[in-house]
């Protein structure tokens, strides 16, 4: 399996690993009144019967945030770590402008999803060893749980690979 990963890094045709989604959390440090935020802010939806958080969206960088009444916030949809941090700061700013003493504590990236393409078809039957799950009946991709950087790769026959589960700031070097 590691050979394939090395092959990926040396292959000329391999297209760059693109980060598709980053999920991060931050603590704004003060309790929030969700109803007030939902009424005042633009692009906010709040449906307490369905979910106990305000869902706010901003256009630049295009992200979505879930803001909870305890002051904790989850920011999703950003394409890079920097953008995620920036977006979280923007949300904090919005909350601050509404009058809450928001701060920016414990910003942590929880998950990063990336995809890449090795550009050659992969024979999944040959890859199945110990760490893998491949059930063609259930899901067409092979699920490889790598131990050292603790990530999960979904490997497809077409040569596309999806990497996820990466919660360290360091993105895995292919």
């Amino acid at each position: 399996m590691e050979n394939y990963i090395k092959a990926v890094s040396v292959s000329r045709h391999f297209s760059a690993r693109v980060c598709r989604n980053i999920v991060s959390t931050v603590n704004l440090g003060c309790p929030l009144d969700l109803k007030f935020i939902a009424l005042q802010a633009r692009n906010a939806e709040y449906n307490p019967k369905r979910f106990a958080a305000v869902i706010m969206r901003i256009r630049e960088p295009r992200t979505t945030a879930l803001i909870f009444s305890s002051g904790k916030m989850v920011c999703t949809g950003a394409k890079s770590e920097e953008q995620s941090r920036l977006a979280a700061r923007k949300y904090a700013r919005v909350v601050q402008k509404l009058g809450f003493p928001a701060r920016f504590l414990d910003f942590k990236i929880q998950n990063m999803v990336a995809s890449c393409d090795v550009s050659f078809p992969i024979r999944l039957e040959g890859l199945v060893l110990t760490h893998q799950h491949y059930e063609p009946e259930l899901f067409p991709g092979l699920i490889y749980r790598m131990v050292k950087p603790r990530i999960v790769l979904l490997i497809f026959v077409s040569g596309k690979v999806v990497l996820t589960g990466n919660d360290t700031q360091y993105t895995k070097p292919q």
């Binding site: 078809p121 024979r123 491949y134 059930e135 009946e137 259930l138």
Partner: protein
């Protein structure tokens, strides 16, 4: 002199022939003896027979089996059922003045294993629906027992775990059943069975082999009533198609179904895609897709000694 049955090797003293301590004793259950094969000395007598009292000819215990000693002992699966039960009385003396039976309480037997026994019954019912042999049922029971004792999947429905164990047992015995076939005899959805399947593999730290197209050929073809020639041709086609990698990423079931379709269309017994789809549990569009992939090289896929009823160029093109 202590008698010990051959399965009990714990702290009890082992029975040995005084002249031949190394000889393995032969158990003569009809006379209840343990005999040394070297000198013929009867070493242990009055061995208690733990089998059933007389022969019963049904697969499972018949409702009116008036056995006085209860069921045959099943020590592998239960936690050793040495319990006492009060059964329902039959004579007049067991009813008190109001017509109610005395000693109503049947005294729950081994309540900790009650769920397990229920699950075994469910497994047996499911396996009976698709006519699975005893060895698969035994293996399923063993798997279920292991998973149950581990308690790592305690939150999941027992039926789901039982269905997943059945699926794994079929795979391990080399006769895999598709998830859809197991779904058909179980009330659990395919998604849930699939989830439990992955969890059980992780919990028991086993793995199963990949399914191949040939595992399903005999079953599907006989369900469709296709002759042996067609079945062999379909097996060959499917294997060749996978070897040549004409069908990357397709589930082996779909490839098998497409191969059966091609083989049957080339022979005298032509089956429609819908019929094959019904038997295999694949949609007919899926068969169409896989068929389109193998059609261009149909000529090389057939076995060399195949008798064509419809020649290769007249095969339907979808």
């Amino acid at each position: 002199m202590f008698s010990s049955s051959s399965s009990d090797g714990l702290a009890l003293p082992r029975v040995q022939c005084p002249n031949h301590p190394d000889a393995i004793l032969v158990e003569d259950y009809r006379a209840g003896d343990m005999i040394c094969p070297d000198c013929g000395l009867v070493v242990g007598d009055r061995v208690i027979d733990v089998g059933s009292e007389w022969r019963t000819f049904s697969n499972e215990k018949a409702l009116k089996d008036p056995s006085r000693v209860g069921d045959a002992q099943n020590p592998l699966l239960n936690g050793g059922d040495l319990t006492t039960m009060i059964s329902k009385g039959t004579g007049a003396a067991s009813f008190d003045e109001f017509g109610n039976s005395k000693y109503q309480n049947r005294r729950t037997m081994s309540s900790s294993d009650r769920a397990m026994l229920n699950a075994f019954k469910e497994i047996s019912t499911m396996a009976d629906r698709i006519n699975l042999p005893r060895n698969i049922i035994d293996r399923t029971n063993n798997l279920f027992k292991q998973v149950y004792e581990q308690k790592s999947l305690k939150g999941r429905a027992n039926d789901a775990i039982a269905s997943a164990c059945l699926y794994i047992a079929c795979r391990q015995e080399g006769v895999p059943r598709t998830f859809k076939e197991i779904c058909a005899v179980s009330r659990i959805s395919k998604k849930e069975i699939g989830r439990c399947f992955k969890l059980i593999l992780k919990a028991l730290e086993t793995s199963v082999d990949l399914i191949t197209t040939g595992d399903f050929m005999s079953r599907f073809c006989s369900n469709l009533g296709l002759p042996k020639q067609v079945q062999m041709a379909a097996t060959f086609i499917a294997r060749k198609a996978v070897e040549l990698d004409l069908v990357p990423g397709r589930s082996p079931i779909s490839v098998a179904a497409a191969a059966i379709y091609m083989a049957s269309q080339a022979s005298a017994e032509k089956k429609t895609q819908k019929e094959i789809g019904d038997i295999a549990g694949v949609a007919d569009v899926t068969i169409r897709q896989s068929y389109r992939l193998i059609y261009p090289r149909a000529a090389e896929l057939f076995p060399p000694d195949f008798k064509f009823d419809t020649p290769v160029d007249k095969l339907p093109q979808l």
